[in-house]
């Protein structure tokens, strides 16, 4: 059953006539809107060939677009891997039986989810150079040096005479990891909790220990259920990497909206449009991948992670073409039985009717 047919019947003669009139009306509205925009652009000479032709030159692509794209992908990839590790550790820590592990992990995750990513990036960029000399003079001076020299050097962090300098790349990755890692921690927690309780009960009953139950039984099932939500979060991460623009990290947005206009006669509008197209294509590709994963899971009769209400701000900067893994997509039947997805509502925000359309088959 298609989504549309839920809300209206097949049109009769009067409804058909009304639809034709409304279609004509909206075409007229779009034409007028388009014409107004055309006139505006024309008035400001935004159709001048010199503003658009830079994107036909190979040099622009090899000199600005591709290096920017590589930097964007680099920060996304590094932050993505680290955020996954962070999310895995803290997500499992929140499920710990020991309150002294569970509570601090919960506090950390909630803290980083409650504050804006940008102030985390500012923290990483501006604070270390000022406070590191103070730490260097104190009892933790050596520890600070070791941390920078052995742990943080791959990110380009350097320590010089007790002063720690954090490059824009490292600051961006720091913020992306802590924020998205915290969101992923919730995804992991929800994923593990979404595995039916009989699974862990059965595992315990055959004599497995806590560690083995988690490692051999719960996680493997949880991970495949979480995959769509994880990929959706990667779309968020990719988009958030554009915050590098603000701290002058030379990623795609910076190269295209700051550098190209500076070199090619202030074509901000044109560059921004081309840049948007690149981001949209990248994210749609990632979104497609998530949809494919969701479908595959549905075929295998598994549900996507049913993420609790408070967690929905994964929607936040929000997932490309697919759902944010809230509620099962193609598996509305299962989710309906659990009774969560329906109430929480956000069962599969996907666009292709995987999650949205098939209510008829659910329940």
């Amino acid at each position: 059953m298609s989504e549309a047919s839920i809300l209206y019947d097949a049109p009769g003669p009067r409804a058909r006539r009304r639809n034709v009139i409304l279609t004509a009306g909206s075409i007229a509205a779009f034409v007028v809107f388009g014409y107004v925009i055309y006139r505006l652009l024309d008035q400001e000479q935004q159709f001048d060939a010199r503003l658009w032709t830079p994107f036909l030159e190979p040099d622009v692509w090899t000199g600005f677009v591709l290096p920017g794209l590589i930097n964007t992908l680099k920060s996304t990839l590094v932050a993505g891997v680290l955020a996954l590790a962070f999310g895995m550790i803290f997500g499992l820590a929140r499920l710990s039986d020991h309150w002294w592990i569970r509570m601090p992990a919960g506090a950390i995750v909630e803290f980083f989810r409650a504050i804006p990513l940008l102030i985390l990036i500012f923290l990483a960029l501006f604070v270390p150079p000022i406070i590191s000399p103070i730490i260097a003079a104190g009892p933790l001076g050596m520890a600070q040096r070791y941390v920078v020299e052995y742990l943080l050097w791959p990110f380009g962090v350097v320590i010089n005479g007790g002063v720690v300098i954090v490059p824009a790349f490292a600051a961006l990755v720091f913020g992306l990891v802590l924020y998205n890692g915290s969101v992923l921690a919730e995804v992991v927690r929800a994923g593990v909790l979404s595995v039916p309780r009989g699974q862990s009960e059965a595992a315990y009953s055959i004599g497995l220990r806590k560690n083995a139950v988690m490692r051999l039984v719960l996680l493997p099932q949880a991970i495949s259920a979480m995959m769509p939500a994880i990929v959706a979060q990667m779309v968020v991460l990719l988009k958030d990497s554009a915050l590098g623009f603000i701290i002058a990290y030379e990623e795609l947005l910076n190269n295209m909206v700051k550098k190209i206009p500076a070199n090619f006669g202030n074509n901000v509008l044109q560059s921004a449009l081309v840049c948007a197209v690149i981001y949209i294509l990248l994210n749609l590709a990632l979104g497609r991948f998530a949809t494919w994963l969701e479908r595959r899971n549905a075929r295998r009769g598994r549900t996507a992670a049913v993420v609790p209400v408070g967690q929905v701000d994964a929607v936040d900067a929000g997932a490309g073409g697919t759902g944010v893994g809230l509620g099962a997509a193609g598996t509305a039947g299962v989710a309906g039985a659990v009774g969560v997805a329906g109430a929480v509502g956000v069962a599969g925000l996907s666009d292709d009717g995987v999650g949205t359309g098939d209510r008829g088959g659910g329940g």
Binding site: P116, I119, I130, V257, Y279, V346, G360
Partner: protein, 227 residues
Amino acid sequence: MGEIFDFSPIFESFDRVWAGFQSTIQLSVASAILSLVLGTILVAMRVAPIPLLRAAGTIYVNAVRNTPLTLVLLFSSLAISDTLHIVVSDVPRTNYYWFGVFGLSAYTACFVCEVLRSGINTVPLGQAEAARSIGLTFAQSLRIIILPQAFRTVIAPLGSVFIAMIKNTTVVIVASYAEAAAIMKDLFEDYSASLGIFIGFAIGFMVLTLPTGYFFGWLAKRLAVAR
């Protein structure tokens, strides 16, 4: 070591900090209202019986929500306001405030639309059928029957969208409008950067986001549709 946790800048320039958070709140409230209106229009388009409107809504949502917010805000401030010379106010700060609101709303509306659309899917089929059988048109059934129930089921996810939006107001820094995050950066430069300043601002943002979350959670429970 005491200098690292020096909170005095927050108190010394408390009027600036307060002004920054006031800007954040103003941005959030205006964008919340505008994105709610826009999102509702978008979702009406996306479920409408007219294919053209459906396509337009789908294209808009997919294009804007896959674009980084930073780019959306740069587009609204640099491209639309500065390049095309469209201004809503001669005072630059007011002008950039509004273009910040426009950019944020254009972006957030996509998420409002998607949340609402999933809410529409939770309304039982019988509701729409009953509405049609008593002779309501599509617009009437959407307005009187479907959307009120859809809104009530998605209050919690909607709250999360607004929390994300409050955090996203910090990105308006690229649209040349100074809100709390920009003030934090200024304080880092005026005083020496310290963890104290950061923690002060982090608490400020938590004061905004956490109660919003609790409020929407409470509202969702209160208004839940009993089925």
